[in-house]
Amino acid sequence: MTPVIQFTNVSKRYNLGLTRTSLPSILSQWVKPLLGKQGNATDKKIYWALQDVSFAMEKGQSLALVGPNGAGKSTILKLLAKITNPTTGKVEVNGQLSALIELGAGFHPDLTGRENIYLNGTILGLTYKDIHKKYDEIVAFSEIEEFIDTPVKRYSSGMAVRLGFAVASCIEPQILLVDEVLAVGDASFRQKCIERIKSLLRNGTSLIFVSHDMGLVRALCERALYIEHGRLQASGTSAEIIDMYNRVLEKKRVEKMNRHDGGMDEVNAGIEVTRVDILDVEGNPVHEARTNQPLVIRVKYTAYKDFGKSNAIILIHRSDGLLCCNIRTHLDHFPMSIEKGEGEYFLKIDPSQLFGSMYYVESWIMNADDSDGIAFGASEWFEVRNSIQGHEANMAVFEPNRAWGQNRISQNERAVARPTA
């Protein structure tokens, strides 16, 4: 079976900026080669909206495009809808395609709802005959029967959007593109739109869906593509991709936040923490820790004199500001001693049990009676992933090692427990 949609190594380049259109720059473009000068490559701001994207979709599938703003999702839809052509590569679409990208496209405020149905319908590729056949269905769906002969300028924005969706979705296409249009309208109408899309799916329509609403993606799509920086980063089931998307979002948010790792200017005590690393049990740096695996925190220091008996504290901070643990050599009765030179100390937590989120570790070196800090350092942010998918970040504090159990209480005992009336 041939796929309904096939992208083969598709790239799309945009020339940003309007440099070409001003007279001096046009002249300089013509004159430069005459003078034998090479055009400067940075003159043209080139932007690759998509790079080397390949995927295929079978008939009847529903596919979500997930990714941050500016990732290239809308460019994919534009290529599918033939609004624009790829710079390189091949886009194949087999089947009649309809796009719910701009609801109420071409609506004129002075025209009535009825007139705008015909106008909007023809823009979406329907003939008057087609629209006439669907007219009653469109009006019924939009729930604005009594205002159908009122100019659209008197409509509330919700009414206009309802009318737009009603026209666009009455086309029963083989391929439906939906771009973020369900974000408008009230909850009940939104539900109606979702039902409408689901019923199209049941009738064999293939769906490409773009949304930042992961709830909708989960409800409507079996599979998803994760797109970022114009590249296809991952493809998988919706659950997998949503999980990935949420983690990337959290990571982005957190990386902009400050860690508490300022130097200790006033504490020039002859010792400094040079590194704080997060390692696995083999001593390799960990980029993505698992909640059910052990973690080793290693702190490296350089001492410029002998300190003798010392203490250390390790603090684990979560991205939402929660202090997750505060572990101290003093309380754990771990004897620590610092002599002149370089050294390191470790803390192994097994398993980490940290709930999926972003964390960083802060460590203090304390004086002999644990009353004053003498050196301080912090790790980079690191990520912990839950052992199973489906949780949202920061939803809970820890994920313990666990076992479920169930005992069946006999019918007789329950009958006894519940008094009869």
């Binding site: 052509n85 796009a99 071409g106 025209l111 106008l119 023809t122 979406l124 329907l126 003939t127």
Partner: protein, 260 residues
């Protein structure tokens, strides 16, 4: 074959719907409504009539000046208004062009059709004027009229569609076009008769296709005679402009959505 017919129907219906939208948008909420289609040429003619009958009289060949000038002003207004409307038709609807696929030529063509409706309305007044001045309706006139209109439409389409496409890339086209039309007005036989053009410059004068087209309108409507050979040179030049405009439009239309 079936899909081609269907595509034709789709485009036809879209052009029609967009024409209606343009007309409704233009005349809704205005007291005079479609009468504005007549007001513009009538006002122009009224001014000309005062200047060129009282102050600097021109030789119209025995026909009333009002008829002489109105018969030229309405085809001229059709050209001037539709070409400027067409030139901005894509740019003014870039949000649509950038988001939805539909035959792009529908927008400029609808802009032309909406102005053609104005032309037909103002043509009714011409017929009334002809009856008033008792100008005989000639059978040749009726025969040639659709052909002259067809030639003019080819000229407008070529010019308008080409400008619409070019205006997407360079917004200078719109103001430049308005300037050109202003000059062009005086280079066409609207205020004055052909007889005022020196014989040795006629070849140059008729390189302007509107010279032949307007002269021909006058021939068949006012003078009840067969148009001169200038109609054929106008037809040739208009055909070339039509081909060039459509060719350019088709060559660059795939880039429209990328330049917003």
């Amino acid at each position: 074959m079936l899909t081609q017919t269907n595509n034709f129907h789709k485009t036809r219906d879209l052009v029609w719907a967009w024409t209606v939208r343009t007309l409704r948008g233009r005349y809704q909420q205005s007291a005079l409504g479609w009468l504005w289609a007549v007001v513009q040429p009538v006002a122009t003619v009224a001014i000309f009539a005062v200047v060129f009958t009282r102050i600097v009289p021109v030789d119209t060949g025995g026909v009333p000046y009002i008829l002489f000038s109105y018969s030229a002003v309405i085809p001229w207004t059709l050209l001037a208004s539709s070409v400027t409307d067409m030139a901005t038709s894509l740019v003014h609807n870039m949000n649509l062009v950038g988001k939805i696929y539909f035959p792009r030529e529908a927008l400029p063509v609808a802009a032309l059709l909406a102005r053609l409706v104005d032309f037909l309305i103002s043509f009714i007044l011409l017929v009334i004027l002809m009856l008033f001045y008792r100008i005989p309706f000639s059978p040749q006139g009726l025969l040639f009229l659709p052909l002259i209109l067809l030639i003019q439409m080819a000229l407008i389409l070529g010019l308008g569609i080409g400008s619409a496409a070019l205006n997407v890339f360079y917004r200078d086209v719109d103001p430049l076009l308005k300037l050109v039309i202003q000059v062009w007005f005086y280079a066409s036989p609207i205020l004055y008769p052909l007889s005022l053009v020196p014989e040795q410059w006629k070849w140059l004068y008729f390189l302007n296709p509107m010279s032949g087209i307007i002269a021909s309108y006058r021939d068949v409507l006012v003078y009840s005679r067969v148009p001169g050979d200038y109609l054929w040179s106008a037809a040739g030049i208009s055909a070339l402009i039509f081909i060039a405009g459509v060719w350019f439009f088709k060559r660059v239309e795939y880039q429209f959505a990328d330049i917003v």
